[in-house]
Amino acid sequence: MNAMNTKMITSKSRLLVLLVLALLLTATAHAAAPGITGPSFNLTAQASSISQPDGAAVYSWGYGCNGAPAGFAPAAITNTFCNSMQVPGPTLIVTEGQAVTVTLTNNLPAAAGNTSILFPGFNVTATGGVPGLMTQEAVPGGTVTYTFTASSPGTRAYYSGTQGDLQVEMGLYGAIVVLPSSVPANCTGGLHAANLAAEQHWGEADFRLAPAAYDHASTCYDREYLFQFAEMDPKIHAAALAQVTAAGNCTAGAPGCSLNVPTEPYQPAYFLINGRSMPDNMDPNYALEYPHQPYNGNPHMHPGELTLIRVIGTGRWQHPFHEHGNHVRILARDGNLILSQTDPTKLGGRLEFTTDTTPGQAFDGIYYWSGKGLNWDPYGHHPGSNDPSATLPCTPDANGYNTGAPTAINFWEWCQDHNKPVQVAPFGDVASGGPATLPDPNIFANGPWYGGSPYLGPDATLRATGCMSSSALQTNAPNCGASGSTPPSGTIANSPSSEAGFAFMWHSHNEREITTNNIFPGGMLMMMLVDSREFVINESN
């Protein structure tokens, strides 16, 4: 057996374990933008280990809660915790205009020396501690306090201002989200109210931190996620651990009680979304197996929902991040809303299908998926079917979408393609007569996130695969699974009978970053699912 075979077998068995884990967990795991509320925060900087999907426990430093925080948000998420060390640090959620106080205690090993926090974008007053190069710092065992006014809404980074090339690499970074003090009226009416009504109809909670990202009528949103990207070179972490261990319980400031960890050459092996690598990032928020990486990256959304993505680049590399499925409208960078120069009621930010993140820089963007322009009906509606869900009407609003019926499973369907088939041949109980012929299912391989058919949602998928859910007779393909359609086997992460979402890979397009320590898949990659309305998106876990 040569080296390659050995490698493949180990990586496969490892992946199998991951897969089983993923199977156990992904069914209910969704994201949101969870964090802690203030406006006073009592943080600590401490050492611990974070876990990676190759089994590594990587020695890291992180910010955590020094005692229980004032609260957690969004309220719909339960099972929250804020340990004394986490990567990224706790997401600080405040409201525009609040006076924010962050007290930091330095509980890092004494050899690590001083530490601090920078809050770029705010006018910070630092008290206590000792003067450092960029701000007041907390000595080992000591504290420092930062106060500032949350002067304007938006998403921004915070990170260590002390020996950043080492301390940020070790994990001392986090996000601060400022919510607008007033919400534009249109954000709680019209289609946003209809989306909320649809959520309530299906028993979904509202996981937003607010209905708008800014004090601006063009920044309403229906769902939101926060992603912090970083990369990690395990050699640096191993060297830090070795030196900290060698220094023992030394006295801060004593000779030899310091670190000299080389941070170059830099060869990262882990590429993180919210401190986790794929597939760990698609496990739940606050999953108990990640006590020091509470935040996940597992976005889901329904058609038509305006989804706010809050993204921060941390670490030292740029990452071109590709959002499959549609473009992103850049609303703001570092909390600065980008508006038209001639009409401040209009947006001026770019539309991007690959969003750049740069170290320390944040952006807020709006994404949605609607299926408009596919030229075929993704719900597989079939006027001749005996299934009432297959014969739902599509009544276009002024923009062409079926938004008048928030309780319908085809709420937000793009009506111009309603009932229009894609396939030449009959495909289960989905109409035929379309333009394209699918390949023989025996000559292709299914992916784990393939929903089992080209169609969106369990109703359409079960009809397409000859397994109509209602007791009504199928008009075509009488026997379940014998329709000559795609066998939905292997679609373990996106059940054809209960979810059948459209899965889109959101990933770094510096493609080598979608690996974990040289193993593909991994790293800076997550699957975003567009779920039909039948599927209840539950971000509480």
Binding site: A3, M4, K12, L15, S218, P268, Q318, P320, G325, N326, R329, S340, K346, L347, R350, L351, E352, F353, T354, D356, I366, W369, G373, L374, N375, H381, H418, N419, K420, P421, A431, G434, P435, T437, I443, F444, A445, N446, G447, P448, W449, Y450, S453, S489, G490, F502, A503, F504, M505, H507, H509, N510, E511, R512, T515, N517, N518, F520, P521, M527
Partner: protein, 564 residues
Amino acid sequence: MKKLFRVGLPLLLFCLAPLVVSAQSFRVQCPTSTITHPDLNKTGNSSEPAYTGPTTLSPGTNGFLTPTANVNGAIKCQQIGGGDGMSTMGDGTQIYMFSFGPLSGLADIADGLAGTEFPNVFNTVYPGTFVPGDPATTLGAGAGGAGTAQNPVPIAFPYNGAVGLAPDVDAIANGNCVAPCLDGHVDPRAIIDVGVMNGNIPAPLLAMDEDDEVFFTLTNVGMIMRPDLFEQHTVHFHGYPNASSFYDGVPDASVAINIGGSFTYYYLAPDAGTYFWHCHITPPEHLQMGMVGQLYVRPRQDRVPTGGDLYTYLGYQQNDLRTKCDSNADILCSNPLPAVNTGVTNPAAVYNAATSGTNGPRPGYGYNDGDGSTYYDVEYPIQIHGFDPSFHFVGMTFNPEQFNDMKDKYFLLNGRSYPDTVTPGPLATQATDGKMHFSQPLPSIISIPAGGRALLRISDLDVTEYQTLASLGIPMTVIGFNAKLLRDQAGNNLYYTTNSITLGGGESLDVILDTCTDPDRASHPTTCTAPLATGTYYLYTPNLDHLSNDAENFGGLMTEVHIN
């Protein structure tokens, strides 16, 4: 996870489905009539009609809207092979690739054009017999004929149809089809003869017009140098708005075609712009190894009749909910009516019913701008890429691949590094089958008529780092980014002038090189009184370490711009 399924799933499917339907799984698709293009004029949807307003849609008997008049767009088809091949770097090194090669539009691609064809071209049978390496072999490449670096000549290959297309004799015999019965049935011999070891870098160019239906067939011919890998391949149409995951080409989220099969991807051409495409199987591997290509969509504005007022015609697009851009209703559209009506009309050179929608060069617009500001006289797709020769060497053999160590040493514009970038005609490489193949058909010399404007459709599919491309002497005006016009929601153009652009992998933008210095240039984009001096200018990377070909401290990411 995909690696696991690559082995496990086919096995599982094999066990579950012993009733294998047919032995031959290669096929192509290119209908001449569909719901969207019912061929009311009986032309086989093989020309682009002028755009005079939205297609008239009426409720049909089947419950969906059908076009009844004024049908816009046409049908386009293309076949590509997924497999492997060899290419030649600027220092003469031949490098192994996983790659796509052309299996239709062979002549157009060898001429540096797109291989996307109308049905009346695609659905034709090759009159001769293909031999391995075609069309390079038939043209005598490497023996003083076409396609050598030393002796480029215009390509005189007669065939742009679908390789392998053949009458479906079984269907004819069964009485199900009338001869010649070109229903997509193919003779696999021709596909294997042409498709094996025929990879291109970049992959075959796709070009389409808004309102087109596109049938893009990927035929997996296998990688003959890596028989141990049962690699599937896919097509990811990068940037397709509101994509279906089924046709998005991500194997984890859809299906992927095995060796010996064909998968036809079906698209309605999306909004105009510069996109690109690539395989999405194990991306750090397949993209580095070369499975990357270019793709762009020409705007409806290219089909405005001569003399048509561009603002008025963009207004017509507001009458179809699919093509309109109302910034108040859609946060993801980028071409609302311009804030200023310039009154610019379409010059005669742009729309011509006989040539519009074909692959030949012609003037046009980058986007539906409504003000003529994205007009170009000539357009050039330019793709930035990088090859790590160590990774490619490992990729040819049987060793584990180290993604973290990946370090590009060849820096490519359209698959070529300087000085090959300025060689006209296709570059040929002798592959391991002993035949010459057109490995890098797309030159990257930019030729602009003095006073004219060139649209550079620049994309980057480097998988390791950001790359910068600078212009020496001619200002760059960036008009589009990621296949969207740079315009704010109030209709103000956000174009900017620069001397360099920087892209990461998976990004694209549109640059206009304007060789006219008239101060009032915006008011007359098609004429010029003060052109720049004729001569040679340069596009090059200021990442100076990328001006190299592996060990040679010379070459890399650089090409010439000729003002004639």
